[in-house]
């Protein structure tokens, strides 16, 4: 069977896979991009839209064809049911997408550990628990130390109070430890924030407290004007407002007032673009107009007072 004729016919239907360009095209297959610096034909670009579109389309087709030719020349990897081309490492370096991350501030413990040279030891998550004979997490859910069944007896010193509830005491101590850790975490956050801004943590806390004090002073019915002041309380400095001179030129004042009035009117005009009632009255009781307005879905709010 001579199939070469059919193959040739099939091949002739499409354009040639070979593409020749004057200036060789650069490829960065790692980024799946090609850089074609061949000059475009100005005559074809300036001719009518059809020729221009056809020309640009042919250029794009050539570029895509060259890229695919290159991709097919790469080493391949055969997976379960597909063949992959292994792209090389990208050559062009792209700029950073996001800004550089800020340097993390060291916490109190990290500073101490650095000075003393303490290294953290990596612990495994699971620990062998002898009593149950299996591996349990070191802490948290289903850990040996959190298991309530484990604490069937608590050794207590001789001089301990017999009426004290030891279980409650243990729970209380745990709560205290958790609260202490949270406090320390909060303190670390505040210190980090303070050092970021360049203040000392105590100064930042002091200014925050002062601001809160000032705000609370004005939270009375008379905005803090008539409250009795404590001895030694500093006077709160407000922003000094500047007023126009009392007796100025009448014309300037008039023009300023007109400006403000225009601004107010513009705001009003925007709000009242259509006086619906007036429009209804002007258009009259024309049934057709009424039907039209009702069909547009305009809802007239019906309120009845009781």
């Amino acid at each position: 069977m001579d199939v070469s004729g059919i193959l040739q016919e099939h091949k002739d239907r499409f354009q040639s896979v070979q593409v020749d360009k004057l200036v060789p095209v650069d490829f960065d297959l790692g980024h799946l991009s090609s850089f074609d610096i061949n000059l475009l034909d100005p005559g074809k670009l300036k001719a009518g839209q059809k020729t221009r579109d056809a020309y640009l389309k042919s250029i794009s087709r050539d570029g895509a064809q060259m890229m695919i030719n290159e991709l097919f020349s790469l080493p391949t990897v055969v997976d379960d049911d597909s063949v992959y081309a292994q792209l090389p490492k990208p050559q062009t370096t792209l700029p950073r997408e996001k800004p550089l991350p800020k340097e993390k501030v060291e916490t109190r413990w990290e500073k101490f550990a650095k000075i003393k040279g303490i290294q953290t030891r990596k612990h495994s998550r699971l620990v062998f628990d002898e009593e149950s004979g299996e591996y349990k997490p070191r802490f948290g859910y289903k850990s040996a130390k959190n298991d309530e069944q484990n604490q069937w007896a608590i050794p207590v010193a001789d001089n301990a109070d017999p009426y004290e509830d030891q279980y409650a005491k243990l729970r209380k101590e745990k709560k205290e430890r958790v609260a202490k850790n949270n406090r320390r975490k909060q303190r670390n956050l505040e210190e980090a924030m303070a050092t970021e801004r360049g203040l000392k943590p105590q100064e930042m806390r002091k200014s925050q407290l002062q601001r809160a004090l000032v705000m609370s002073k004005g939270s009375t019915a008379s905005l803090g004007k008539f409250d009795t002041k404590l001895t030694g309380e500093p006077k709160i400095k407000g922003i000094k407002r500047k007023f126009e001179p009392l007796v100025g030129s009448a014309d300037k004042e008039k023009s300023k007032n007109m400006d403000i009035l225009n601004r107010v009117n513009k705001g009003e005009a925007k709000a009242n673009l259509l006086n619906v009632r007036k429009a209804q009255r002007v258009l009259g009781t024309n049934k057709q107009v009424q039907a039209e307005m009702n069909s547009k879905g305009k809802k007239q709010p019906k309120r009845s007072r009781k």
Partner: protein, 180 residues
Amino acid sequence: MRPLTDDETKVLFEKLTKYIGRNIVHLIDRPDEPYCFRLQKDRVYYVSETIMRKATSVGRHNLISLGTCFGKFTKTGKFRMHITALPLLAQYAKYKVWVKPNGEMPFLYGNHIVKAHIGRVTEDTPEHQGVVIFNMADVPLGFGVSARSTVDMRKVDPTGIVVFHQSDNGEYLREEDALF
């Protein structure tokens, strides 16, 4: 005494626009002599320039009032209009309500106006619009806010409220201490 800041003027004009609309121009731009707004102790006074200049010679604690008091600014910066502004409002009012003789006294005692007491209303008064209330002899009695538009007013029953009371002439007696 001091002139109003831009923000205060804006608040004042917005309030006035609700009652007299674009006629504020007549307040600012008068043909006879220039008038101005001045603030003394949170109260807004509308006074002619010549009188204002003379008033500068009165001390701050001695100056009680000058010109026409329009109202006062509250602590939070809102403007509250007083009955003393009525003569000017009545002159330039856009939307008016006339009240029958039997409805005058309830309004002057501070009650809202019911439909039974309405004599006349200007056409196409929108809802929640500032209105000035007159009696049948065209004497201004006070001002308020329309509870319903003119069209809806026709549908409401006679004991329904059509105008909310804001200020009336009776306040000259009731709030004698607070007016000036």
